[in-house]
Amino acid sequence: MKKKLGMLALTTVFATVTVLADCGKTDEGKEGGSATAPTNHKIHVLLSHAEAAYAKQAKDDDPYIKELSKLSGYNLKFEFLGHADYSQQLSLRFASGELGDLIRTPEISSTIHTGAVDQGVFLDLKPLIDKYGPNLKKKIPETAWNSPRVSQNGKIYGIPVLSGVPADRVVFIRQDWLDKLKLSTPKTIDDYLNYFELVKKEDMNGNGDPNDEYGIGMFDGIAWTDIFSSAFGVTPGLYNIRNGQLTPDIIDPKMKDAITFYKKLYDSGYVNPNLFTRKEAEHNAAIAKGEIGSWEAAVYQYTAGYNAEGAKKTFVNQPTAAVSMNAAPKGADGKGGLGAQGDGIYFVWVIPSKTKNPEEIIKFLDWAWSDETADKFFAYGIKGQNYSEESGNVKYDMAASVNADKNAFQMYQLSLNVREIGFASPLVLKAMPDANMMIKGYDTAKANLIKHDGLYMPRLKSLEGKPEIAIGFGVGNLFTDMFAKVVTGAEPIDTAFDKFVADWKKRGGDEVIKEATEWYNSFNKK
């Protein structure tokens, strides 16, 4: 016995010594198609499923992928990795060299593949685009091409995938609750507080328990649920010029007011008390159960479960449930907003240098951006299955089961759409029963946009490898920890905030401000 266990013990000891395996080598030409046949050229697309229900379960021989292959004349393979851990999975793919021909990344200088541009891992696409992508140049706006997410030192390493709309962040509110309480749409912070108080008092969902509803629902991705801080003139994650220096909003003293406000929400029972531990899935479940009076959302989510049809399916035992899309709450001086003004880029395609016949990929994207059949596919799906056409008129029913089940429409409008988020493309909006509602929603979102001075700023070197001084509501940074402690009452705002600012600056924040300011000055000079 002893001897045997000893052996077992020894092997286990070695198992405890863990190291990151080196897999720097690449296996070349694994997916390479034949160079001579331009038709049916194989393109392996590596991307995330972005939590789209249909893409999550799509197989290689999915009918939509087949259709897109057929229409484009390319042999397409879409590999959907998980969304929540996409950075991690992609990082491992870069380490192992098992890449696709066309890869989704947030930006060419992302930490997912630090050093990729310098090491020549990504192809310089400029000559190829000039030669093979006339429509790419025409259809994708100049501002997107110039973004540091796409180009560096005058070379283009990525192809932007567009957000489709300039903004999509709104506040979803239970319209039926507002009606029941005889309230008009809340506009200011005080309106919201008034609404929250009534929600707290009344048994809004009618289940007999008046204490299981919260005015606003939040979860551990605070950045996605923070609708109030901008009303105080500060937004975690953004930079603005103060005293001639580009500094992050999180160290602005006005941040104290925003945090104090959240503490008030927490203490008054206006927000679910488990906001720092609740996961997004539970948050969505709470919404469906009728426990949440308002929450931040994206306009496109409206069609995927919260419009008149969708609400009936989404909300459990609440036949009258209705949702409206609203502006961000306004503070005392009329400030407020949701979503930072951005460069209009959803994510970026990169092509690894080892990919064979990259011009074919450019041609494919050029086709996707210009061909009429592509336009229709990315809006309505497969002809004869998802929509029909009679004498040139498209008949498309979004609520039909073939489009609505598992949100199948997201497959052709988002997941396979290699050019943009297609939920609000002109063709889609035209065919929507909620067309007016959606257009209004996008207008609201556009008005919600927060202006800031850090627009187009590339990733700062001084933040590299220091997640603790990140400037937004990230996981495991000083700011988020301080925010959570103050809101839950573990620490008082004044001392905690001042300590945080001093700590942040000492640990490298000063360099962050310096680097940001230098970028700002040089960027705005030219």
Binding site: M1, K2, L5, G6, L8, A9, L10, T11, T12, V13, F14, A15, T16, V17, T18, V19, L20, A21, D22, G24, K25, S87, Q88, S91, F94, A95, T111, I112, H113, T114, G115, A116, Q119, G120, V121, D212, D220, P273, N274, F276, T277, R278, K279, A281, E282, E464, G465, P467, E468, V475, G476, T480, D481, F483, A484, K485, T488, A490, R507
Partner: protein, 303 residues
Amino acid sequence: MSPQLRKHIYSKDALQVLLIALPGLVAILLFKYVPLAGNMIAFKNYNLFQGVWQSDWVGLDHFRRMFAFEDFGKIFWNSVRLGLYSILFGFPAPLILALLLNEMRLAWFKRSVQTLLYLPHFLSWVIVGGIFFNLLDVKGFVNKLLGGWGVAAIDFIGNPDTFIGTIIAIGIWKEVGWGMIIYLAALAGVNPNLYEAAMVDGASRLKQMLHISLPSIMPAIVVLLLLRIGNLLDANIEQMLIFLNPLVRDVGEVFDTYIYRVGLLGSQFSYTTAIGIFKSVIGLVLIMGVNTLSKRTTGESIY
């Protein structure tokens, strides 16, 4: 080579045994020893695209950075505390359970209990996390129960005072049944004559357990304990990532979670490999220390 030895080696039996062992040996060599060489990136500025060999040497820079890191002391202490607590409570749990289960008379009952107990082992941490987040929520089942007895709601997962205890308790719940199997196997190997003799001498069930069952499986216990101590600084990364939240980071941030965030999410492979080596060295020192100690005191050791 003596003719006997040669005969022995080339005998059919020995050859078979060697062949059976071969895949295991190759696997260990390939997946445990070869990657050890990868540790050299702790002394280099490893870049994904330059590979291990082309990256520049930087000496002990990454170790210096680690020791200079403001939170190093905190993370070290958190890791040690979590490790100590989980050995203190997590290690005896399956042993006690195995001893108790061993006393069960009804075989079918014993078997079903055993199966039920190790079932949670097969659940992923995501699911276990979901279950316990709901149960232990401020408004969850446990707090409703406590509320019935007049106890104020406790935020088990969001309160630094209760977090470590909760984590360890959940860990025990999930793995206790699985850990018990090895002890049950050891107990099954105890010679029944010993029990019969003790019974004749009038030993009670408790005495039998203390003086026969426990000493008989002592070698297994010691070996497992030694191994466990070698892993003192290893947290269950999946569990920690699910339960860790901003409210408890001060007590819950351990080496593994820090490595995950900085290394894997931030691509700081060299730096975090340095931390990993530091962890391994501590583990090695610990295991050698307690092994010597154990050899001197109990006579049991793993090498």
